[in-house]
Subunit: 242 residues, 2 copies
Amino acid sequence: MIERTFDQHISRQFNNELEHLRQQMMAMGGIVEQMLRQAVQALIESDTALAQVVIDTDDQVNQIEKKLDEECTLVIARRQPAASDLRLIFAIIKAISDLERIGDEAEKIARWAISLADYSRPRNDYRELELLGHTVLDMLRQGLDGFTRLSPEVAIELKNQDKKVDQEYETIFRQYYSYMMEDAGQIRRILDALLVAKSMERIGDHCKNLGEYVYYLVQGHDVRYETARQMQDSLDLESSEE
Amino acid sequence: MIERTFDQHISRQFNNELEHLRQQMMAMGGIVEQMLRQAVQALIESDTALAQVVIDTDDQVNQIEKKLDEECTLVIARRQPAASDLRLIFAIIKAISDLERIGDEAEKIARWAISLADYSRPRNDYRELELLGHTVLDMLRQGLDGFTRLSPEVAIELKNQDKKVDQEYETIFRQYYSYMMEDAGQIRRILDALLVAKSMERIGDHCKNLGEYVYYLVQGHDVRYETARQMQDSLDLESSEE
């Protein structure tokens, strides 16, 4: 197994640069995590002021993405890193892009939270969206944590969770569909709530991607489009070879 | 202005590698373009066999993405390119990711085409989706073409078109909403059609991204999150300085 840590470099300066990139990515991840938590809270509590905070933060996240992309390019150009270091930088570049998209989805959820605040609330206070929101928030934490602990298993865990999120989205879709059939006066509100669920489902996809980058970074191969089973088999095979 | 062409390299071999990467990206773009065209056609003509072709092709596109990502990494590791060449490779890496996501959306449209084929068709045969589909197909062609002609103006053009696509999606959303209100028996079908429109709107976003990568590649700076006006001003400023 290729052990990748952040302190193996001959050049301490280069090592610092890589660690700095990773830290900035983690800081961006922290901001996006907060956006998502606030967006879910704004939705559940009809807190339009909090929703506005999320919307305003998205701009900041977009600027961080640009800045980090540029820094990654500069580090490659200046350091001409070997393949294994390039892998780290590539994993960071890809993760940044998914984090930015999670921020976009959080912003959209916040906009729908504002729109939904105009309507009367359902009896269960969107409990199903709260649960789904907390599931993907937890996935995001795990994905970011994977970049700290460098554990390839996180990819398998997130792939399995993403499947559950997809199923949960399907359940919500069917439920909302039947609500619309029952009461046409609720269609507009339910459409907005459905798009919130769709955004959360997409966030699950992006978190699954984060796991795949960690796997790629640690194991050195790309597992996008492989099943959780294939990933697990390849980890098992490796540990039996050791 | 930094003139970027594909034949300026000291090393002919390196030049060939870069050109090969670009050609493969264009070939991938060609496949995705065909998927999107077929998905729209399958929807309009209730052609479930054609929809299945699109679904089957998505796997192939995913594999091409993985392969091209790997080749880009290898070229960087082997050639240790200067910043300007890195820019080309980065633009390709980013474009590949958007093309793959356009392929995903085309696959989803194909799945909804299959689902919608079970329902009676509206009188206008989803004319609004056909038009929106052709608009984003045209945007995709322009984005790919931008990588051949290396014209930064394509970024401005695509940004403006994306805004129109967003407006068109909003119009469709309101229209479908009123259909649902009128006839609850149609809700399920209209929900599927609405998600088709949403997928097309997302394809517009990805095409806008392609334009931004071309701009970045040619002009050397990142214009994501800038307005079309800001981009045009900076092009005008440059030509007045020449």
